[in-house]
Symmetry: C3
Subunit: 345 residues, 3 copies
Amino acid sequence: REMQAAEPADMSGYERVKQKMVRPPFAPQHEQVATGGPKIVEVEMVVDERLMVVDEDTGASIWAMTYNGSVPGPLIIVHEGDYVELTLKSLGKNQLEHNIDFHASTGALGGGGLTHIYPGEECVLRWKATKPGCFTYHCAPGGAMIPYHVCHGMNGAVMVLPRDGLKDAEGNSLTYDDIAYLGEQDYYLPKNPDGTYKTYANAGDDYAESLDAMRTLVPTHSVFNGSVGALTGARALRAKVGENILMVHNQSNRDSRPHLIGGHGDYVWESSFSDPPLTNMETWFVRGGSAVAAMYKFEQPGVYAYVNHNLIEAALLGATAHFVVDGEWNNDLMEQVAAPRPIQS
Amino acid sequence: REMQAAEPADMSGYERVKQKMVRPPFAPQHEQVATGGPKIVEVEMVVDERLMVVDEDTGASIWAMTYNGSVPGPLIIVHEGDYVELTLKSLGKNQLEHNIDFHASTGALGGGGLTHIYPGEECVLRWKATKPGCFTYHCAPGGAMIPYHVCHGMNGAVMVLPRDGLKDAEGNSLTYDDIAYLGEQDYYLPKNPDGTYKTYANAGDDYAESLDAMRTLVPTHSVFNGSVGALTGARALRAKVGENILMVHNQSNRDSRPHLIGGHGDYVWESSFSDPPLTNMETWFVRGGSAVAAMYKFEQPGVYAYVNHNLIEAALLGATAHFVVDGEWNNDLMEQVAAPRPIQS
Amino acid sequence: REMQAAEPADMSGYERVKQKMVRPPFAPQHEQVATGGPKIVEVEMVVDERLMVVDEDTGASIWAMTYNGSVPGPLIIVHEGDYVELTLKSLGKNQLEHNIDFHASTGALGGGGLTHIYPGEECVLRWKATKPGCFTYHCAPGGAMIPYHVCHGMNGAVMVLPRDGLKDAEGNSLTYDDIAYLGEQDYYLPKNPDGTYKTYANAGDDYAESLDAMRTLVPTHSVFNGSVGALTGARALRAKVGENILMVHNQSNRDSRPHLIGGHGDYVWESSFSDPPLTNMETWFVRGGSAVAAMYKFEQPGVYAYVNHNLIEAALLGATAHFVVDGEWNNDLMEQVAAPRPIQS
Ligand SMILES: [Cu+2]
Ligand SMILES: [Cu+2]
Ligand SMILES: [Cu+2]
Ligand SMILES: [Cu+2]
Ligand SMILES: [Cu+2]
Ligand SMILES: [Cu+2]
Ligand SMILES: [Mg+2]
Ligand SMILES: [Mg+2]
Ligand SMILES: [Mg+2]
Ligand SMILES: [Mg+2]
Ligand SMILES: [Mg+2]
Ligand SMILES: [Mg+2]
Ligand SMILES: [Mg+2]
Ligand SMILES: [Mg+2]
Ligand SMILES: [Mg+2]
């Protein structure tokens, strides 16, 4: 193994900082423009297999495999040139082997080859963030276990900001007031002959039946942040007129096409932060196995639905989140000239 | 409601023009480069629920929900900075509630929140076209009714041209000789146990069975301009060698990948008109819930098939249109050096 | 027919060179930067219908329709302005009519209208490569036969290089050390009631049942270079740390989203070579009916999986290839700080 032969890297010159992981849809504390030189950013993630309700209406549930208890796993934010040093632990109560593959990293299957842990184990992986952009991470234990784990929620995103922050095509700085971190998850839940969803006693028990369901390539659910309605109603995202919101959308497996009903993607980075953003998009694209960022400045108050604009997936499979935006209505942008009334002529 | 508190906008300084809607695949009269300042462009659309044949061969039919009687609805063309003032009416004979969500607009769910009308009603909505590009519009009455209406044909496109017209990446003007407006529609028609398509007495009667079919995410049909063969044979699109045709492709729900067999997308705007067009594409992409524009200068005479290049969808589900192009053949570009003959050696 | 009226092109001033087709994943000998003026590049392809095993594990097989005996057909490489002169032959033992549609060409359905040959026949087609980029070619005999042939393996790619080679967005030359040519093939294999795959005596015998399977839009297999595991294990692709590899990915029918596990797309041309490449992509997109190129400089030794990052397709349908990369591990880029061990605290 070439790896064993290599000298450990000398990291003595680098400042270490801890990044406290927070629950989605929130983003960890971070600088948009880096101060100082590259750092070692320490993060900790704990693998937690847990039974989660996917849809309260039908009682559909899944033995989710999670990083830190949430689907998606937490958002990590660093700057280009920083090092991510992850301590990955697996709770002793877990059933399965897990690891982590960071699309943002280089080598060893994205770190997947160096992080296989069993329940009760931990490991530490350090990698350098050389590519700026939003990147998926996910569990990838090998073979059919890869889609099985990923489709059970075991994925999340890293955002690697350029050291001097985001820019438009002309090089002007783009800053945001807040981040909304949305993970879209496709589930393939096995069903009973009567159409109800199967339940299982333990993580892993649904393996064979999940693979059969996955092979159809048609998910039973596609949801934001773990379950139907996780980001609607009382749990909707909040913003104000005039605020720039950076929407980070992670989909580790399946294509998606986000759209903000009533809004736009003013700036959309589908590829990476080293390319100029696309502008004024109605609907953007998440290549399955990607995280993308889209920035929008809200201009009107009200409720905005953030959807996967395959509207069947949005309305029937669960891919709908809400932004509730406060502020003053602007009749120049849109005005209801005549409210619904009987036809006049 | 903040909306009620806002002062009506003062539109007294703006010229009003009426744009006469025309039937797809045609485009309304318009200027490529705007003369004068921003205008208020008045358009009228009438919601019309009507039984339509989807495929003459099988007799498959649908109670289509239409804007102005066609699938897709009419193309609206304005310039950036113009205002669109829509009068939306619903025929008294209709069965269902409808509205309209313009992806090009800002706020109130794209106007969807301000335009819910019942049969026999009308309303008037004005919105400012602040983003240049091609944009979908569609009915979005809420919940599962959204994909149900959209997948019954209730969608179309707005093109918002830059005031000084289209440009290539270097800023050179790009003008077109004609527009071909193609709406691709995915239908999910319920079937009888023998595989024939179900028929229904009234609009709305297929609701539950349509939702079941939609949940498979696999359409029974994907057609241009409402039905199989609507733009082939005697109804093919026409052009001449040397003409630049702007193909506006609307797909309000499902991804598509247009390809012109024998031609290309010389310039393709997948995102908006504020981004430089992609060039020389073999096959471009319509993110589900988008309208895109592609420009091509025909260089050879003959028949060109414009297809969704999932060829199964093109050949078996109906996603094929034809351009018939007149002009002179150029043997420098392509020559049949030897016609089919027995193998010589 | 306008074609018959046109004067044959005078090609007397052009040098003729033969390009020897080689078996995928290899690329024919070529110059990255063209020396001299445009040439006529002569290629020969032989249509060969042959029974191929798709998956050794299940015995799944198909009467593949191939150009030169392989799925995908051979990669052709020319420079912009060159002429491709193809002699297309169909073996006498074949059963079906075939032709070829080059997305890179202009007119006559990409040459499809001029190349219909029956078993024992040949024809010669010359076309000018006016558009730089990677382009699909495929059989397109008409109607449902189009997806039937394409989904039986009858497709491949042409790369049309700019005369002065590939460039980044700033105009700097980008050169590669090697090409890996991957064709992703979606198969729709008919099954027996017990779930085993059907077998057929002759090419064409599976027509009706294949169309039924295709209509689901869900492939039974999606594989690189013809069969499950064709590019893994002993048949893996090889590279060295420091080498730039150009990965040419052809998918003639269905969208794909390539990802190199542990690596990236440093430069990705999704549209054509006349657009600046996208950079630092985690996962790129192949619009169904396209060929794309992605360049990556390997920075770490080890095994890299090149997958369609719908991980279900990668792991269950077969869309996985391997690169085995030799060289020295770099602990600065990634280091296993602590190997798996019991949780410390
Ligand atoms: Cu796992
Ligand atoms: Cu991955
Ligand atoms: Cu409606
Ligand atoms: Cu919409
Ligand atoms: Cu063929
Ligand atoms: Cu094609
Ligand atoms: Mg529900
Ligand atoms: Mg906020
Ligand atoms: Mg990304
Ligand atoms: Mg028919
Ligand atoms: Mg015309
Ligand atoms: Mg658009
Ligand atoms: Mg196998
Ligand atoms: Mg090599
Ligand atoms: Mg291409």
